[in-house]
Amino acid sequence: MAKSYIVSGNPHWHSPASTQKIMLDVIIALCPAVLVSFLFYGWSAILTMAVSVASCVLLEWAITKYLLRKSSTIGDLSAVVTGILLGMNLPSGISWWIIVIGALVAIGVAKMSFGGIGQNVFNPAITGRVFLLISFPAQMTTWPVPHGFIQSVDAFSGATLLGKVKELGAASVADLDYLHTFLVNIGGSAGEISALALLAGWIYLCCRGVVKPWITLSIFATVAIVAAIFHAADPAQFTGPLFNLLTGGVILGACFMATDYVTSPMADWGGVLYGFGIGFIVMMIRYFGSYPEGMSFAILLMNMTVPLINMAFHHKKYGR
């Protein structure tokens, strides 16, 4: 034989899927929500996300190059996804140095110190956000008034619906227009505005086979059921299921943060349990906690249980 041929074990070809393509799909799925935040908050929203993405990518590059001295992993686009998600979880127009600190915690502490992609215990973007929420409570809960291209007439300025409930009680939002809230939910993080845009992205991910719907559906179902029970018991004190599904970070968290591969269980039924845990904890925080919103905390808490869930739930094996 003149030419030398390759020899390797089977299979001899592979599917087109790659880490990079998966991350690209997530980025595409986030685009509608990013677009909506641009429409409402204008360039400041884009700037927030740009700073966040840039600092995440730069930090990962610097850490792999100078600290770990490994080949760079920024090509897999996971840092970009973390950056966008972090940016979406911040009030648009927040100071740039706060974003950089958030990125440092997200990439440096939550991701790279555990060994990079695939090794982290906690979702990096949420870790970053929670760190900022605790460190800079004032800046993190000062929601800007929309000043972009579309200005909602009845915009809540400076407070989220959930914040309002915490202060004024459930009755204050009794006459809410839910269809409007579904489309436009002003007052909150840059990425939380439109439930429709987020769900569109999530459905895209499901169709592309990037994520499985069980975790998200389980969170939605748990939130709805818990809220329904409490609301039925005392409508004056506890808000209803629809309100709790549409407000705050439930949709963003359930669609994009809780479904993070690394920090969610592998088996389908494990995912259902994980989703139940998140839904239950977020409702407990909302009803009885001191914070108006608890999605980030709920996801972080359930992240810790993932290794245990993975141990308990396995795939159905053939012939066993």
């Binding site: 041929y5 390759i6 053939y318």
Partner: protein, 462 residues
């Protein structure tokens, strides 16, 4: 009829059956053939001819080396030139018989006429003996001796005979062509095996991406007088043709870990094996030829072939006959892209189980650089055995975790390649899981041996 498929995992690789419309051609005879003694699962066969002997095509060259073993026959007529060491397609040492080809004279008693013989022998033992004498082995890939499989030790009894025509591997078309061109022979072969097994229902299983084959087989069944032979269409999904998957798909039963299919009342035979059984029993013709697909992603359709080759012809001869190895080929594979073996030595001779010569180009076959696992779970979603390849990979790499590997069923791996195919991070899962399987099989065997020794010792005491 309703289309069935197996219940766990599976993937949908691109069909790529480029050679599907190429009719079966007969390969010319080379100057020399090299008949390997390691042509079936089990012990190598023992040569019974000597150097200098004149042999006829179809004459016995070697006898089985053990209970699980098969006769080997001469594919050509000529002179035995040498019996000695040779290399198989992986470059490993084997014993082979080298024969100088001198014409094509067949041993007496072999019927070479094309007439279809539909009359079945009355005695099942006659059928089994003829299959054994003809050296028929499973041609679906595992090359397990067919007569052993068709004669299950009581009390096991076959409830269904599955003729596997699913050919779920991409690129391969040899079974498909045979089902189009010789459907009646396959049906007679199926009827023979049905009789040998004591008359179970026989399903001819074909994936729905081959409607012509389904139609052709149905027509053949309708025109022949046999009872209880049905065509079972299946949904296209890899690895449908895996024995365990086929049983799950058609019978909705799952073979227990470590057990044989017969424990669930199933016997699976490949469609080409069925054809070989027909030739062996009805025509007294031993297994000396098989059908091979010459295909690839870097080969124009007009250079792709399905050919009837004599077993023992060197692979390089077939490659030359088909127009040489294409320039862009980076890997040559014997078998399909999912489970085939990469050929390290193209000078090796074909064996009974050879079913294709597949050329893949650099860009599709080169492994991607390994990245870190992102725990997406695609490997376990794809695994048709419901295993968790990422976990087995991790345990294997940690070293010394055989017990945990066994608990997580590493020994159940069927090496179908779904995990590595679907991994987005390019982690060589199957390479490692295969080793893990070897380790676990080692401890299982050691345990069985220890238990046997203990039982023996207890017996001796009494």
């Amino acid at each position: 009829m309703n289309r069935k498929t197996f219940s766990i995992g599976g993937i949908h690789p691109a069909d790529s059956k480029f050679a599907a419309d190429r009719p079966i051609e007969v390969l010319p005879l080379p100057d020399k053939v090299y008949v390997s003694m390691s042509q079936c699962l089990g012990a190598p066969s023992k040569p019974i001819v000597a150097v200098g002997d004149k042999v006829l095509a179809g004459q016995v060259l070697a006898e089985p080396g053990g209970f699980i073993g098969a006769f080997v026959h001469s594919p050509v007529s000529g002179t035995v030139k040498a019996i000695g060491p040779g290399k198989d397609l992986a470059g490993n040492r084997i014993t082979q018989i080298e024969i100088d080809v001198e014409g094509d004279e067949w041993a007496p008693g072999i019927d070479l006429s094309p007439e279809l013989v539909t009359e079945l022998p009355d005695d099942r033992q006659v059928i089994l003996d003829k299959i054994k004498a003809a050296g028929v082995v499973g041609l679906g890939g595992a090359t397990f001796p067919t007569h052993v499989k068709l004669n299950p030790a009581p009390p096991a009894k076959a409830e269904a005979l599955l003729i596997n025509g699913s050919e779920c591997e991409p690129f391969l078309t040899s079974d498909y062509r045979l089902m189009l061109e010789r459907p009646s022979e396959i049906v007679v072969g199926a009827a023979l095996m049905q009789k040998a097994l004591g008359g179970p229902v026989c399903y001819i299983c074909i994936e729905d991406n081959k409607p012509k084959a389904i139609e052709s087989m149905q027509k053949a069944i309708d025109s022949l007088p046999y009872k209880d032979i049905l065509v079972q269409p299946l949904k296209k999904k890899y690895p449908q043709g895996g024995e365990k998957q086929l049983i799950d798909a058609v019978m909705h039963r799952q073979v227990k870990s470590g057990a044989l299919p017969i424990s669930e009342g199933a016997v699976v035979q490949n469609a080409t094996t069925s054809f070989a059984v027909y030739e062996a029993v009805q025509k007294n013709k031993p297994l000396v030829s098989n059908i091979m697909t010459i295909t690839g992603n870097c080969l124009p359709v007009e250079s792709q072939h399905n050919c009837l080759f004599r077993i023992g012809v060197p692979l390089s001869f077939i490659a030359e006959w088909a127009g040489g190895v294409p320039e862009k080929a980076a890997k040559i594979i014997s078998g399909g892209p999912m489970m085939g073996k990469a050929i390290a030595n193209l000078d090796a001779a074909t064996v009974k189980g050879s079913s294709s010569l597949l050329y893949l180009s650099e860009e599709v076959t080169r492994r991607r650089p390994e990245q870190q696992c992102i725990r997406c779970g695609r490997c376990s979603d794809a695994c048709p055995m419901g295993l968790e390849p990422f976990l087995l990979n991790k345990l294997y790499l940690a070293g010394g975790r055989e017990e945990e590997l066994e608990k997580n069923a590493a020994q159940d791996c069927i090496e179908c390649g779904c995990c590595l195919y679907s991994c987005p991070a390019g982690i060589p899962l199957l390479d490692n899981v295969r080793q893990a399987k070897v380790q676990v099989m080692g401890i299982i065997r050691a345990r069985a041996a220890a238990a046997k020794a203990a039982a023996e010792a207890a017996k001796n005491k009494n």
